[in-house]
Symmetry: C2
Subunit: 213 residues, 2 copies
């Protein structure tokens, strides 16, 4: 069992964007940050349920690996959308009825919410827990002994990195300078210790870094 992270960041390390509006809950910067990822065939098939399109190069190789072998996931309340829709008890995340997960997903929140069982096999469960506790729950729940993914957002990922709980992290660095947001790196001096770090460049200009224990 391996604990894995995949994140997209800008050259200046920002894993979130700050230009969201109620009408555009992701923001224009977000589209640019994740543009090469959302252009992949894997994203189009697995997340958008489209077929027959999308890039098939290096970016797609990482996009496909993103979902491969995962048995459970931990994500933050913001990634699930609770910050945007705090008062909607029927909110089921950004992904529609057919999610890309199809495994147990633990959403970290201090708000009590009933678990949601989706028809595709995804179960969203809500809990207030430390990284260690959340990870233990996810390991127990991981289907078929699969890996656990720390999905995001960056604040959640950083708490797992700071606790030394991440075995492999893939970071796609999009060659844009955002200038603001939450930095992946901030507060993590010496993160590279204990990891082998390798890099591969994609046709899109994205640099794929892998931290591997």
């Amino acid at each position: 069992m391996v604990v894995r992270v995949d994140l997209n960041i800008s050259l200046d390390g920002f894993a979130t964007t700050t230009d969201q509006t109620p009408e555009d809950p992701f923001g224009q910067d977000w589209s640019r940050l994740v543009g090469p990822y959302t252009a992949t065939r894997t994203f189009r098939e697995r997340v958008l349920h489209e077929s027959g399109g999308g890039t098939t190069g290096v970016d797609d190789k990482y996009a496909a690996a993103y979902f491969e072998g995962i048995g459970a996931e931990v994500m933050g309340a913001g990634m699930f959308g609770l910050h945007n829709f705090p008062d909607d008890p029927a909110w089921k995340g950004w992904w529609g009825d057919e999610t890309p997960f199809r495994y147990p997903v633990f959403v970290l929140t201090h708000t009590d919410r009933e678990p949601i069982d989706m028809s595709d096999g995804t179960r969203f469960e809500f809990l207030a827990a430390s990284p260690q506790e959340a990870l233990a729950r996810a390991v127990d729940a991981a289907a078929g002994g699969g890996d656990v993914r720390i999905g995001g957002g960056p604040t959640v990922v950083k708490s797992f990195l700071a606790a030394g709980l991440v075995d492999r992290m893939h970071v796609g660095i999009t060659p844009i300078v955002l200038g603001r947001g939450i930095s992946l790196w901030d507060g993590l001096r010496g993160l590279e210790d204990g990891y082998d770090v390798s890099a591969e460049t994609a046709e899109s200009g994205v640099v794929h870094l892998t931290f591997q224990r």
Copy 2:
């Protein structure tokens, strides 16, 4: 004539380090930051005047390009060493009698200092000037119509980038997280506009980014 920049930064964008001491004016972090560069054959030959050693891969390709075709250079007072040796009128920079430059170097400082003519053909000239003024001086002085390099440190480079004066920037990203120092990216949101950005990875793990107009 092209205005060029070469810099080494950490994953979190820091182009300076902060652990210097009087006994170790560069600091341990600096050694790690520029380690892959100082290990190249080009650095060993051109800067250390050693022969027969050093790496000859992708890092060395960029190290060699660093010096190629340059006719003049602009650097900050800190890079020349004036912050470390402000009261030594005989200070001639970090590079000894045989510098790696062999062309005119303009050092930005508000302190009056006489020009220094080195026996290798390098002339250090000291001036208080805006980026535009310093660049005009360097263009005039550039031997054989060569390119002008903005040598560093990062504060000087950032002032030239912010003024839109840089045609090509090569950034070597060393896969370490420093957590402190002067960030290359800070304040430069949208820097990628007007540049093609490409990336190449080296055997050492360094990612070489090129911003090209």
